[in-house]
Symmetry: C3
Amino acid sequence: MNATLAEIAEWVNGRVEGDSSLAITGVNALHEAGPKDIAFVSDESYLNAAASSGAAALLVSEDFPRGTVPLIRVANPRSAMAALLTRIEAEHRQPPGNVHPAAVISPNVTIGERVSIDANVRVCSGSVIGDDTVIYANSYIGNDCVIGPGCYIYSNVTVRERVTMGARCIVHPGAVIGSDGFGFVDVDGKRQKIPQVGTVVLGDDVEIGSNTCVDRATMGTTRIDSGTKIDNLCQIGHNCHIGKHCTISGMTGLSGSTTLKDHVTVGANAGFSGHLEVGENAIIAGRAGVTKSVSAGAVVSGFPAIPHAQSQRVLAGMRRVPDALKKLRELERQVAELKRGLHGTAKDTD
Amino acid sequence: MNATLAEIAEWVNGRVEGDSSLAITGVNALHEAGPKDIAFVSDESYLNAAASSGAAALLVSEDFPRGTVPLIRVANPRSAMAALLTRIEAEHRQPPGNVHPAAVISPNVTIGERVSIDANVRVCSGSVIGDDTVIYANSYIGNDCVIGPGCYIYSNVTVRERVTMGARCIVHPGAVIGSDGFGFVDVDGKRQKIPQVGTVVLGDDVEIGSNTCVDRATMGTTRIDSGTKIDNLCQIGHNCHIGKHCTISGMTGLSGSTTLKDHVTVGANAGFSGHLEVGENAIIAGRAGVTKSVSAGAVVSGFPAIPHAQSQRVLAGMRRVPDALKKLRELERQVAELKRGLHGTAKDTD
Amino acid sequence: MNATLAEIAEWVNGRVEGDSSLAITGVNALHEAGPKDIAFVSDESYLNAAASSGAAALLVSEDFPRGTVPLIRVANPRSAMAALLTRIEAEHRQPPGNVHPAAVISPNVTIGERVSIDANVRVCSGSVIGDDTVIYANSYIGNDCVIGPGCYIYSNVTVRERVTMGARCIVHPGAVIGSDGFGFVDVDGKRQKIPQVGTVVLGDDVEIGSNTCVDRATMGTTRIDSGTKIDNLCQIGHNCHIGKHCTISGMTGLSGSTTLKDHVTVGANAGFSGHLEVGENAIIAGRAGVTKSVSAGAVVSGFPAIPHAQSQRVLAGMRRVPDALKKLRELERQVAELKRGLHGTAKDTD
């Protein structure tokens, strides 16, 4: 980036307070920003960090106090910063390229306009790659896949045969889409694999984190609907159906045939035992272990997951158990004493 | 697939009830099946799903009620479906191919009959690839490995040097076999790496899930015996020994030198602290954290894992703690009152 | 290896007890060692294993009892074994090679002396690879990275653009460094990605485990300082800062903006909720879920993590809750009886 504050203000629909000709070359975190950087202040909890920042300028809300460096004021600093970062990211992104000669693409593959495919990518027979899609080096697209337009598939990704994804999906490095579900049947006391002949369908604007695994259905389809974002190192079992605009944090696992309805939010390292349904807008806390269906709008936590308020009471109660056990012993002693006193049979020799 | 019900019935050793000339082109999940699909009903819990399915025909047990669509009746629908899926999967699998010209294979590698090695696979010096084995694009086989016959190694897999695997193993995309164990020694207050010079040996029919990691032994061997199936995103530490026909669900971690005897079943996201032994046929519940050895046949859950029945009692007890604390306070009040009453010394001024 | 006991003793600065001309060809675990192997005995808990070992010789401490096989005595068997394994590992390592003709390296990449780059590696424009660094097959180095001297980057690794690492780092197979942080902003009710334009900086001697993910900063830098070792399948969120000489065991997750100071030790499968700080020399137990900052030197466990001693008391208390509930019921009964007795109003008909 190389822009004046005035230019940046125009990009983010903001208003400069201070020297609008100031030259800015980067955007940085408050505590790392230097004399050519702009940083942003999302809310009041960062006031101290802002005061001690070395940033040349700050992107702030309308009610941020006047400071010692020039400001750009906007209605929503967080979305303004997202807009600014989008612009900067475009500079880092590889230009719409061509198919690298060291990519290995089977004869009957259909490749759209302005597609970039880097070296050592393998695209197998029958697959279709949409316009403007970028595939980074060393990724694998199996037979008969359909990759929508405007997708980003980073390096070392595996997309196995017959997987379909919509427009503008982002698949981070090392992710695996369409691997076998984990299903076996015991025949004559011997564990035998159930072949997994289904597939995976991703909607539009789906994001799959690094080294996350999405298993194909045993039969039918594992579905992740439009707008859903999944973080790194997650496991999505066979025949799961994740609705639209869900957010699933890292290291979360969904066992087979779990259904999440739209707009479900899941914290990190949660788990779902499978064959259950989570209603719309439910919130699953980090580390929750969900063992039965969850109602729409519910907030659950703990393992097994229960309503969050109850879970907090149980937790608070647990912490008090050691003391309560002492009190219980003391009460037992007192009651025993009372009984002796009442019945007048004891000599209280101890 | 393109077959009549009569043909399918013959494949799965079943009996048609209804129009045996019906043409079937696919197999699908009950809720996704269409007018050319057959679906299967594993047990009575799916009766409603079966009634509302759009499937053209159903694969069912002998005692399934007569329905509105043609049926194939078999003794065990689950194993019949596995047999049918095996046949369908064979259609999707790549034909026994050749070594792709863009595979990079060192001079002194031994390659068996009918081996398929796709583009960008790297096989290093001294390795042996068994007959009928298939290696998908972009995988890596280090020096001096022995890959048995009939194995499937999917894309982006890493098999590091001197790893051995038996016949018919399946290694899913992104899995890593033979990476360094995590071992350090503090020398003069500085953490120093302990080189990991051991290896990994897999038996026959072992399955390693996507992005699962199996560390090589510090010295000696990390072993996974025949028939064991490991799901995605698991971690098998250095010097572990997993017996025959174990099943380990996703996101489970075994610290170094854990031993599982034969036929152990482990739920998802379980953990083992290492240097412990789990007896034959033990069952480890999902999310269990196993911190000491487990007897043969035991069922354990919780963290730290204890016998499942006890763990359930503890859990039920925990849920009742908040109420119990209230009762305890009430009892304390009553006992204090009783004491005042008995000793007649209090004036009850408050 | 092919050496006499006398030679090995010299390498590890030890003293032979027995036949110093004995020929040794391997080093192995006690229970796997054969008649040409040396094994080591770290401490007294392995005395029985040592007695039943088939090893030709043992590497032991000064106070180890005299045995039936020749011994090499050293001050610290563990660090002596590390020294011996380092020597053996050097034999297994690939010789300093050249850049393989099937590596795909952009024109303006700077490659140091004695660098090995194997087939199908992709190194993008502007990157610098330090002297003596080894990059295994099928890895990816994005634009403008700086890889220090003496690094080992195993196969199928992704290092995204602008990542920097110091000297002698080891990146295990499938690891991903510099993938996008997981950040979104809701604009007009629609979840929108916050571009992640920061980077990752690793110090010297950092080790990143197999399939571990280190996210780049949203803005600024995700930092892992010198000497820190991270095990397999860990997740390091955007803008984390991990100090020097930390040890993080497998399957551990750090949410965004977590700070670990120097010399922090983290057990397996722990989690950190982000925007918190863990002080120097703190110890976080396996499976701990850390939800707020931890003081220097503290030892915490449980979820939410609390001081370990307290956590153990809570756990012990929980186990006694089912019994305590019974006692509580009995006390309630006795108190009711006492009240009836005291007030003389009950007839005790039941």
